[in-house]
Amino acid sequence: MSTAIDPRLVEILACPEDKQPLLYFEDEACLYNPRLRRRYPIREGIPVMLIDEAEAVDDAEHDRLTAKGGVETGKRGK
């Protein structure tokens, strides 16, 4: 089953916590909030935008996701 979600939905989707945009990784079936370092799963094509269901990620994973998403985020220590 494809996990691709409607591009119009991706465009408006925001984190329910900080209400800001998310990075979408179709191949990993997830949406990522680089500000709060929180990953939202996409199950059966439906993004699960629940704070309780979101996964916190470590530094290495954060760096990997932001690099993959092409986002410039200030790394700690700079």
């Binding site: 119009r8 408006i12 329910p16 993004p47 629940l50």
Partner: protein
């Protein structure tokens, strides 16, 4: 909680996504509604707005956390959700912002049997529960199952008429990229109707025109297409397809009052001597037509909860509002633009007349339309207008705002629920008198405002 104050309205929940309404609030409201409704299952539906996918998913998460099952009927019109709530006798939640622009979403809630939930009939309690952020209960979590009710709904809508009595007709429906695009073809399938749909694609960004047919500019595409195709009738639906406005074969719009009168006439042929409800903004034509056709006319305040409650009290068969909402006893007293539309098609078939002829006997008065005026203190303005007409010999009542009736002309002035706004509706025997009296009443607004 200010977040919830902004989105809980008199009859529904509504706000912009994702700043006012978002997944976290949908989950809370789902849990709160499950606790409030006290049912073992809740029906869930959404319109085509892209944000509806994640919002309903989060709402379902909140519901199932309370040990309550979810029956997901998927994409639906609001009248389809009400039908499901009636048919399955379970509470329902419809994610829609009706005719509002793309960035909005919202929730219309009902209890089992499509019973309305408004500020005073549960919405206030649901809001208070949601503020507490109800946590999941111990034990079994609810299950989500999918069920399609659209075919049953289409059968139900057609059951209001004798399909065999319909003459072949050409119909253009403008569903404005709203949910009508899904339900209208299913209902007309099986009727001897050649149906053309304008803007059938479900697209919550509304790329063609706003899905609000009460605004005349949103009828222009439909009017042009009716003339081009020589259609018998044009139907304009709003975003969640519960409201309908009609256009006759000459492309002239039919007002909500006129449609109420047409449907009332037809319903009274099927239910001799029945009671029919109309809100107090409807033209005087409406109670006249009800009485002329042997029915009993009952006048109510504006708003679906008042109409539904009065229908329950009086056993009325039908109720209409000037705003394009038509309520049917056999539709769990819920409103459906599609049922009204097929009833009008049946009436035209029986009369053997085009709509432009069938409407003529009901065009008795000239109406101002709803005129909204911003004032500083709506209550004070209403009191000063009331004082002006106190000694005039007119009959005056306060059922909803202020109604002053001189027989040959009348008006109603009522405040908006949400804004410092007064809504004036006036009707008179002639256009000249209507315009003159409208100016007279509006000139009184200066005092006290």
């Amino acid at each position: 909680m200010p977040l919830l104050d902004a989105i809980f309205k008199a009859y529904d929940v509504r706000g912009t996504y994702p700043d006012q309404i978002n997944e976290d609030l949908a989950r809370r409201i789902g849990a709160a509604f499950a606790r409030f409704a006290g049912s073992d299952r809740i029906i869930l539906a959404r319109d085509m707005r892209p944000s509806g996918v994640t919002l309903t998913n989060s709402f379902a998460y909140g519901v199932t956390g309370q040990g309550v099952d979810v029956i997901d009927i998927g994409l639906a019109s609001t009248d389809l959700l009400y039908f499901a709530s009636g048919k399955l006798n379970a509470p329902g939640a419809m994610f829609t912002a009706s005719h509002n622009p793309a960035q909005y979403n919202g929730i219309k809630l009902c209890l089992a049997g499509a019973k309305p939930v408004g500020e005073d009939t549960g919405l206030g309690e649901i809001k208070a529960l949601a503020e507490d952020d109800p946590q999941p209960v111990e034990g079994r979590s609810g299950q989500v199952t999918e069920q399609s009710l659209i075919d049953a709904f289409a059968d139900h809508v057609r059951s209001f008429i004798d399909v065999g009595s319909l003459r072949p007709m050409k119909v253009v429906a403008d569903t404005a990229n709203g949910m009508g695009g899904l339900v209208v073809p299913r209902v007309f399938d099986g009727l001897p109707v050649e149906l053309e749909i304008l803007f059938p694609e479900l697209d919550g960004t509304f790329p063609n025109h706003p899905a609000d047919p009460i605004q005349p500019e949103n009828l222009k595409d439909l009017q042009a297409r009716v003339l081009e195709t020589g259609a018998d009738i044009g139907l304009a639906f709003d975003g969640d397809a519960d409201r309908v406005f009609l256009v006759d074969e000459k492309a002239q719009p039919v007002s909500g009052s006129l449609t109420t009168a047409l449907v009332a006439k037809s319903m009274l042929e099927k239910h001799a001597g029945a009671t029919v409800i109309h809100n107090l903004i409807c033209s005087k034509t409406v109670p006249e037509v009800i009485e002329e056709n042997g029915g009993k006319a009952v006048r109510t305040r504006v708003g679906h909860s008042f109409i539904k409650a009065t229908m329950a009290e009086t056993g009325a068969v039908f109720g209409g509002e000037h705003s394009g909402h038509y309520y049917f006893a056999d539709n769990y007293r819920a409103d459906s633009g599609l049922i009204a539309a097929v009833v009008v098609l049946e009436l035209l078939s029986k009369l053997g007349q085009p709509l432009s002829e069938a409407r003529k006997p009901f065009e008795r008065y000239a109406a101002s339309g709803e005129i909204n005026t911003k004032v500083n203190d709506p209550k004070a303005v209403i009191e000063s207008v009331a004082a002006h007409y106190r000694e005039s010999g007119a009959s005056v009542d306060r059922l909803d705002g202020l109604t002053v009736d001189f027989g040959d002309w009348w008006f109603n002035l009522r405040p908006s629920n949400t804004e410092p706004l007064l809504r004036l509706n006036l009707e008179a025997r002639t256009r000249e008198e209507c315009d003159a009296k409208t100016n007279e009443v509006l000139s009184l607004f200066k005092e006290g405002s």
